[in-house]
Symmetry: C3
Subunit: 116 residues, 3 copies
């Protein structure tokens, strides 16, 4: 199984799994207690960090799902997203409301990206 | 990065992103104010349009997620879905309830398809 | 279209669709009336069965989404998940709350895996 490369493989999940030129990231969250803007910044920074570990970056994201614990924070999340996402290289995206693992998590971002 | 092909690349997201023989579509929605049946028809027509632009079609859909703002409309959505999805070439599918970007959106369809 | 292989192709969806070395599974659910632990066991057994039919197994899962009808059952689901998922070969994972097709379904698991 040397063809599948797992990054940050824990007992429950891996941070990311690469195969066939594509990397699937685990859903990234921010820090409990922070605002939705802060949590969005934190989880997008985590995305950047994990993509770098996989040998790629945010200009190569293929698709993203964004789950908000409260969809009324759509605008706050988007403000952070819009300033982070690379112009000309935006992914396919879908955003919906879903309560997350604990009530303290306000946003989760799930990304699939192309390797280099 | 000429290997990744983005369709309808906007500042926030692309309509679709193709790579490695696969195309990921952004979540498609219908028109605010319309019934869930009408919105399902509209977003599946958008899927058809974007798949055509990517050079493929609905007989090559690999997976689909359907998000309904109100899961009690499962039957209404399915009536439209069942008449649209090509016999013998149905995708892997999952359907769940998720409130969408605005309360006027009743259904969102997220599709991944094979290119030709 | 012989390059796409559909498993359990029904009128509405396929159980799984394989293409380009990857297989996408439909969302798997358990049996109505069962506890969330039992339903998790049942749907993970279905994942095992379908992966076997595709010619692969749970050591090659790339990503998983878990939808819980009630996120407060996160711990019960995880107890079953943690004993099922193969050490050293865990997928990228995301878990959120989403009501499912009927109120009797408590958990749905959506898996993407690498073929052999």
């Amino acid at each position: 199984m040397s063809d599948i490369k797992r990054i940050g493989a824990g007992a429950r999940m891996s941070e990311a799994v690469a195969y066939n030129g594509i990397v699937w990231l685990a859903g990234q969250v921010g820090n409990p207690g922070d605002s939705v803007e802060e949590q969005t910044k934190t989880c997008l920074a985590e995305v950047d960090r994990i993509l770098a570990e996989a040998g790629t970056d945010k200009t190569r994201i293929l698709s993203a799902q964004i789950w908000l614990a409260d969809i009324s924070t759509f605008g706050e999340m988007n403000k952070v997203w819009d300033s982070w996402v690379p112009a000309g290289n935006t992914p396919a995206r879908a955003t919906g409301e879903a309560k997350l693992a604990t009530p303290d998590y306000l946003v989760e971002v799930i990304v699939t990206a192309a390797l280099r």
